[in-house]
């Protein structure tokens, strides 16, 4: 029998049309979320299983809420730092849970590629909730949706992504958020520049890279800050947190040079005083909490897209 399952393991599972369809679907789901009773029976009888081999309360709660708003059943396996986390029984775990009747696995793992392996061991669809440094496609989707809807709201019309200038600032090398976002923006015709020290820039044909934040700042439509992790200093990738902050943080001076229309984004959780030293609530372009809200709608869209058969529809 032909394998008719679909997955969202990475942005590579989508083409431009599929990505645009998901953004449109996210719009519908956001509308559901604004209702007094934000719940539809679209995925009644479907089961989503959270398989979190790495702690992430926020992402897990976002997927859980998305599934519940679509009336899907949910299961959760949260594995902290047990032996499964090292992967010894990954396949057994997946096969056991799969036998309980799972339609979609939502997978978070510290190792790049695990969702691809799991897809080979299960009949269910696989949604990547973050694998290693590799991909985090629902984060990219919620970010794109946030850019699209906020620009439409602020500029009065849907300007689209063609030619949009997005600066992703920080530790690109170790960031699954940056990889997914860069790939997705590229699909839609946006121009991405990676900004940070060369030790944190991976070679990629998908973006230009530079360490000159101040030279780029005034050309950007979107400033996307990444979380800077302390262990990067230990590995001698940067000399110190202070030096990083001096060169690459969004500080009040730099914030003052941003155009009025510029969106300031962050995937969270934010390291105040490291990658950002200005209070984001004072920035008119900051949309960080909107990103979180949109995360639920984006994940509803993905779940519905993968699990909603012909017999289900989004309706009140």
């Amino acid at each position: 029998m032909m394998d008719t399952r679909r997955h969202l393991r990475g942005i590579g599972d989508l083409d431009r049309a599929a990505l645009e369809r998901l953004l449109d679907l996210t719009d519908h789901m956001a509308e559901v979320g604004r209702r007094a009773n934000p719940k539809v029976p679209a995925l009644r009888g479907r089961t989503m299983c959270n398989l979190f081999f790495e702690d992430s309360t926020r992402t897990r709660m976002s997927f859980d809420t998305a599934a519940k708003r679509l009336s899907a059943d949910t299961m959760t396996l949260a594995v902290g730092s047990s032996s499964v986390n090292k992967g010894e029984s990954l396949r057994d775990t997946v096969e056991t849970l799969g036998a309980m009747g799972v339609d979609a696995f939502v997978v978070r793992h510290r190792s790049s590629g695990v969702p691809w392996r799991i897809a080979e061991w299960t009949e269910a669809s696989v949604i990547n909730a973050g694998d290693g440094w590799h991909q985090h496609p629902t984060q990219a989707l919620l970010d794109l949706y946030t850019i699209r809807s906020e620009r439409a709201r602020r500029l009065g019309e849907d300007a689209g992504f063609e030619g949009l200038r997005v600066g992703v600032i920080g530790d690109i090398r170790h960031s699954r958020v940056a990889r997914s976002l860069t790939e997705a923006l590229g699909l839609l015709g946006a121009v991405v520049v990676h900004i940070g020290p060369r030790t944190l820039m991976p070679p990629t044909p998908l973006a230009r890279s530079t360490d000159d934040l101040d030279g780029e700042l005034e050309d950007l439509d979107v400033v996307y800050l990444l979380r800077m992790q302390n262990e990067r200093m230990d590995a001698a990738l940067i000399p110190s947190g202070e030096e990083y902050t001096r060169r690459f943080a969004l500080d009040p001076q730099r914030a003052g040079r941003l155009g009025e229309h510029v969106l300031v984004m962050h995937p969270g959780p934010m390291n105040r005083g490291v990658e950002i030293t200005v209070d984001p609530t004072t920035l008119p372009g900051a949309v960080v909490t909107t990103q979180v809200t949109n995360g639920i709608a984006a994940r509803m869209a993905v779940l519905f897209d993968l699990l909603g058969g012909v017999e289900t529809e989004v309706s009140a």
Partner: protein
Amino acid sequence: MSERVESVQPRGGTVLRGGTVIDVAGERRVDVRLVDGRIAETGDLPADGDAEVIDVTGLVVAPGFVDLHTHLREPGMTEAETIETGSRAAALGGYTAVVAMPNTDPTQDCVSVVEFVRSQGRSAGLCDVHPSGSITVGRAGEQLTPFAELASVGVHLFTDDGSGVQDDGLMRRALEYAGELGLVLAQHCEVSSMTTGAVMHEGECCSHLGLPGWPALAEELMVHRDIELVRLTGAPVHLLHLSTARSVALVRAAKADGLPVTAEATPHHISLTDERLGSFDPLFKVNPPLRTMADVEAVRDGLVDGTIDAIATDHAPHPPQAKERPLDAAPPGMLGLETAFGVARAHLDLELRELIGLMSWRPAAIAGLADRHGRPVEAGEPANLAVLDPDGRWTVDPGRLASRSTNTPFTDVPLVGRTRHTFLHGVAVVRDGVATR
């Protein structure tokens, strides 16, 4: 030293009739008679009532292959392979001798472990198993193993394979000490401070996949260092599993300078590239990692022009559960013994005699086995032979391999050339592609 296997043969021995002999001397159409573990005569041998006759028409009779780089996993990791199962895999691949790598548990750094490996090989009786020794005790990179004592029980090649000797000063002393004993040190070239956590070749592919990279330079720096240490000490070095274009160029230059440097390359480094890791399947994880197409072509060129002296398998069995871990947690390594000839034949533009040389008499010389293996197919020589179907096309079925493990990366690679029979000291240990013991 005699490692003859007991055999029951007709008095007239075994006659291989109708084949083409290819050996160091060239290529000729002759029959070969094997009696009591040796080649009794060659020529146009008439029918003889008292001999077993094997029709090898259309096949090639060659000296058996010699693998410089086999991980047999015993002692210590017998869930992956045993000396018996690995020897069987070797015999099926046409090998009559393998050099057993020392990264066993315990390490092959003392006479007792070395003798254990040798005796397990002898009792399996499928292939001559020649243990190598580690350069440092426990492969810890600190204290030299007793080279002379190990040499006295027949160990010729020493290596810390699995990792390189990081300490420059220690490597220099090891070369000085081993060199005057006439021994060969073999290096796994990897500067470990550049490969912390590395999963695959560092490059655009690795960057796209979000994996820590293993830069080509980490190999090349140690290749360069060891070449300069050879220049300083005059002691020979054998460079294991070369994988990068620049490594090949460095060895080419060293040979042009007349330095006693030899090198090997694996079947997987001439056939597969880093793009295979896009599946995240740990079957494609190996150390050194699969590189780019430009590297693959440079390694092939090195084999073709003689810069690289031997094809060696780096046969590295791992049990299925180990290869079902996430890519970064899975151990590196691939099976190689049963597929080496088929992969090499399919991926190298070489005369058959040149290819057989890369797998037989040239590695035999490096391993110090030139008196027993890779010999001319002539009267009086030991009957260690592979009978090859040089153009047989086949694909590998991991479930039917003799190895205890199944981690072959070649399931979808068309292979050309296969072993039909293998004779070890005159005994047919493989007949018609099936191991006889």
